[in-house]
């Protein structure tokens, strides 16, 4: 365990929210869920990306979420605060298909070597245990636009092959995503509380790109069920700043999501 980690004064969700925020460019249009991506997006709007636009599957274009009033669903009115437009969910999701969205964010219960995400069934879909909440707009996002997956870094979540593909990453690797009919989008990054992955340009397998402060490559590997690609030149993420943490805690004072 590194020095930074021993001295760390932030939670896993805070770290994930900060890392999420930093990959959102100013002026971009992003598609997010509530929780970490929303905290990250709102943080980005306060710091480096005031022109960032958030879309929610509930049908919401460009809201500004109020501190202390974080929504608990992408499909409720709190999520629509100070929005520019409210649409039918079908039409807001169609913006993904039309190509208006730069980055979509998803989570899930499992992720595999080709960045496929499962949020539907653990075990066989014929006899699952447990049956999970399901896709929502997750499949639409990952099928249509460049996607960033946010995932706690745990062995049970990082499995060689997911039990069920809810949201396709690179399917079976190589060109199989395109061959399946998914000719746009793909997983850009996977952000965990230990590191950042992207997918190898040829094999499409997960590839460790950057380690978070104080995290060793062994810690990354020990908490995965398969071995990802590991390049020689690993980057190190900058730790969350005091300002980033302060804003996050102001947004979520009762720690609904900042667990």
């Amino acid at each position: 365990m590194g020095k930074h980690q021993m001295n760390q004064t932030y939670t896993t969700s805070e770290l994930l929210s900060v890392m999420c925020s930093r990959v959102m460019p100013d002026g971009a249009i992003i598609f997010a869920g509530v929780g970490v991506p929303l905290l990250g997006a709102t943080l980005a709007q306060r710091l480096h990306a005031p022109k960032l636009t958030i879309l929610f599957e509930g049908g919401i274009i460009g809201p500004f979420i109020q501190p202390g009033r974080l929504p608990s669903s992408t499909n409720e009115m709190r999520t629509a605060e100070k929005a520019n437009m409210l649409l039918n969910p079908t039409d807001v999701l169609a913006l993904l298909q039309r190509g208006y969205v730069d980055i979509g964010f998803i989570g899930g219960a499992q992720i595999d070597q080709y960045a496929n995400v499962n949020s539907s069934y653990i075990g066989s879909y014929r006899q699952p245990a447990p049956r999970l909440p399901g896709s929502g707009g997750g499949n639409d996002i990952s099928s249509l636009v460049e996607t960033i997956v946010i995932m706690p870094h745990e062995k049970k979540r990082f499995v060689e092959n997911v039990d069920f593909i809810t949201s396709p990453g690179y399917v079976a690797g190589g060109n199989s995503r395109k061959d399946a009919g998914l000719i746009s989008g793909g997983v850009l990054k996977v952000i965990t509380n230990l590191c950042v992955f992207d997918c190898d340009a040829v094999t499409r397998r997960l590839c460790v790109r950057a380690l978070h402060p104080g995290v060793t490559i062994d810690a990354v590997l020990d908490n995965m069920g398969f071995r990802p690609e590991i390049p020689d030149d690993l980057e190190t993420s900058e730790p969350p700043t005091g300002e980033e943490l302060e804003i996050l805690r102001e947004l979520d004072p009762t720690r609904i999501y900042l667990k």
Partner: protein, 315 residues
């Protein structure tokens, strides 16, 4: 993938769909009735589509009455499902559930009731993507048998459905497309902020899939916070989202989405939602049934349920 011609289970043939619509009295007539009368028109085995999403503008009073009337063997569709799904399942009303997501809400975690029904094979459960269900209602509203899309391919979702999905190569571009069958529910249950006695409906806030669902369905049962005059509708016809000709019943039900939210009227009753979550967290389906006994079956009427929520209506 199948070959030959066969209707997807919830897509009637166009000729039948038109015949069913032709039989409806679509005139400008008074459709106001009681909640029990309106829900009484739903037959066992019907496909019932539910407006709103999650805990927002849910036609909760209509579902409450449907559970009280012990409807059976329904197909239920709603793209994002919250507690109403628990009550329909635990109430023994559903044979088939079509949704993209099912949980009370992410704050409360997995639905114990849905898990019990799906994991033990007590319901046919179809998971679609959120946009897919929306496009299926839209295809139903457009009177066409399918809409092509670029989602759900490469995933496990098509294989896990009862409905067998077709793909095609686009004759113009050569792209591979997934064909989503039209969804034409027998009944759409929709709650709005205001409507007139003829069924001209106006709603505020998130529109959800309600308009497509209404135009796709054979019949629409509308509950409304308030019945307003037809003059008020005609003064702002651009705000009307569902036209009278698609509506078959209008029921005035104040707090008709409670304990879920209705934009401009009330937020979700979070405390009550927490209390319900405790019932199922401790005791799964029997816990849900205990809650339902107290909140759905015992109250004499909807006002009785609202009292339990702590809402007193002015006389």
């Amino acid at each position: 993938m199948t070959t030959g011609f066969q209707s997807a289970p919830d897509t009637p043939h166009y000729v039948d769909l038109r015949a069913r619509l032709a039989k409806r009295d679509r005139g400008l007539r008074d459709k106001v009735m009681s909640l029990s009368e309106a829900i009484g028109t739903i037959a066992d085995g019907d496909h019932v589509a539910i407006g709103g999403n999650t805990f927002s503008r849910t036609p909760f009073a209509a579902i409450w009455e449907l559970v009280r009337q012990q409807k059976k063997r329904l197909t239920v569709s709603r793209s994002i499902t919250s507690t109403e799904g628990d009550f329909l399942l635990a109430g023994g009303c559903v044979d088939k559930y079509m949704t993209s997501w099912f949980s009370q809400g992410i704050l409360w975690g997995l639905s114990r009731v849905m898990r019990d029904f799906v994991e033990n094979g007590k319901v046919t459960y179809e998971e679609w993507s959120h946009m897919s269900l929306g496009m299926m209602y839209r295809a139903g509203a457009l009177g066409i048998p399918f809409l092509p899309t670029r989602v759900m391919m490469g995933s496990g979702m098509p294989e896990a459905l009862v409905t067998s999905l077709e793909t095609m190569t686009c004759p113009y571009s050569g792209d591979k497309l997934l064909l989503l069958p039209a969804l034409n529910p027998n009944v759409a249950l929709i709650h709005v902020q205001r409507a007139d006695k003829y069924g001209n409906a106006q709603y505020d806030g998130l529109p959800f899939m309600d308009a497509d669902m209404a135009m796709a369905a054979d019949r629409v049962i509308l509950t409304t916070e308030k019945i307003i005059s037809n003059d008020d509708i005609r003064n702002a016809p651009d705000h009307t989202k569902i036209p009278f000709m698609a509506v078959d019943a209008v029921v005035e039900v104040p707090y008709g989405a409670a304990p879920h939210e209705c934009a401009g009227f009330y937020e979700p009753f979070y405390k009550h939602m927490d209390e319900y979550a405790d019932f199922t967290r401790k005791n799964g389906v029997p816990g849900a049934l205990d809650y339902m006994q107290e909140h759905i079956f015992e109250p004499r009427d909807w006002t009785g349920f609202l009292k339990k929520l702590g809402v007193g209506l002015p006389n």
